[in-house]
Amino acid sequence: MTTVPPETDTITLTVDGTLVSARQGDTLLEVLREHGVAVPTLCDLDGVSDVGACRLCLVEVADRPRPQAACVTAAAEGMAVRTDTERLRSLRRTTVELLLAERNHVCAVCVADGNCELQDLAAATGVDHVSQEYLYPAGLAVDLSHPRFGVDHNRCVLCTRCVRVCDEVEGAHTWDVAGRGAESRVITDMATPWGESPTCTSCGKCVDACPTGALFLRGTTVGEAVRHPERLAYLGAARRERRWLLDLVAGPPAAADGGAAGAPGGAAEETPDRKESKP
């Protein structure tokens, strides 16, 4: 057996009664994950900094009176951590209930229904109803000014993943938080419409980062599922009247510049550029 030289930065702590080793500088959440101990998280996102915003990863640390957010608590030598006490389960349930009660999360008609981390968390923490009173805040905006993305503040849980990924990964810092307490809102630039943002690169990282239906790709909502049956009538009429064939066969000789462009089914004739170039 080879002897592993002792690493000076290795520490030992206790998690739910079991001794585990970790590296100096690890957060408790990193240690828990490395050892397969599951704690619920929401604001945490791989690749961006930790902020301890959601308070779902709370754990109990011996000799500390209040529970600590594991994602922003440094692991330390000799620390005794508990992750699954009745007190913690109760706190997590209450946190999820408060998140659900604060804004208008109507899962059945949400773009994220079935793909929502808040929905998953409710199931995972045993929240089968919300005992707090729903606030039903009125007038929360839905901004559809961006051509590709939308933001629905009714679904936002203020995890700030969008803010961090935009700042730390994309480097644009389009997103930030304005207001205080229940009035807090994620904003683009100086609370200008997203579509008018001069800093947004339209990269979509914020949409990928969002755990709920607050940020979404446009075109994915039920209201945007517009069908165009009139196109079928157009196609039917075009086929009956042999519109395309006539265009191709009887088109001006100038258009037959090379075989590919004139091939049946080629769409080049329909592009604006080609049309403009015609005499």
């Binding site: 659900l100 208008n104 999360h105 109507v106 899962c107 059945a108 008609v109 949400c110 229904d113 079935g114 929502c116 929905q119 998953d120 409710a122 199931a123 995972a124 045993g126 089968d128 109803h129 919300v130 005992s131 009173e133 729903y134 039903y136 805040p137 009125a138």
Partner: protein, 186 residues
């Protein structure tokens, strides 16, 4: 059970308040298990049974829908008083869901928009005392109005989830929170 005494068949009721009836559709999705259910319990009140008055001494009542109008409020209070185990069935009963979307708008505004401004015929807010129940100022989930014993969220809860719960409830147990399908909203 002792002395070979026949145990009384449990009395089951289902109630439809402010919801789309989708939860009852999910209940009907029990398909052939409905025959097992008919053997296991007496269905004493339901939108699919011909009973006008909610009876006394009901063992289990499944309630679909939120409390949205005066009739719902009166009925759910009667249901609570006459039921041993009250089950909040589906997201409207559990959270308010789509039925409660109108809570974002004042009630008079809701009525004016629906029956006057957007009406294409017969403009006017319905006013037929004793016929059309007045809407409550705010739609509430069941547990904000009466104590609820069991929650089955989902829009709708699956037939499997309903069946699991019914099997336990008709045997006099609470449905296991960790058994089978995990309850979830939506």
């Amino acid at each position: 059970m002792t002395d070979g005494a026949e145990r009384r068949r449990p009395r089951l009721a289902t109630v439809w308040l402010g919801g789309c009836s989708g939860c009852h559709m999910s209940l009907l999705d029990l398909d052939e298990r409905l025959l097992d259910l008919a053997r296991a319990a007496d269905v004493v009140f339901s939108p699919v049974a011909d009973a006008k008055v909610f009876p006394e001494d009901v063992d289990v009542t499944l309630v679909e829908g939120a409390v949205a109008n005066a009739d719902h409020l009166a009925l759910i209070r009667t249901v609570r008083a006459r039921t041993k185990v009250l089950v909040s069935l589906g997201d409207c009963a559990v959270t308010g869901n789509v039925t409660a979307l109108r809570n974002l708008v004042p009630l008079d505004r809701v009525l004016r928009t629906s029956y006057v401004e957007r009406a294409t015929a017969g403009r006017g807010v319905p006013d037929a005392p004793g016929v059309v129940p007045p809407l409550l100022p705010r739609v509430e989930p069941l547990h904000r109005v009466v104590p609820v014993d069991v929650y089955l969220p989902g829009c709708p809860p699956s037939a499997e989830r309903i069946w699991e719960a019914l099997l336990a409830l008709l045997e006099g147990h609470r449905p296991a929170a960790d058994g089978g399908a995990v309850p979830r909203f939506g």
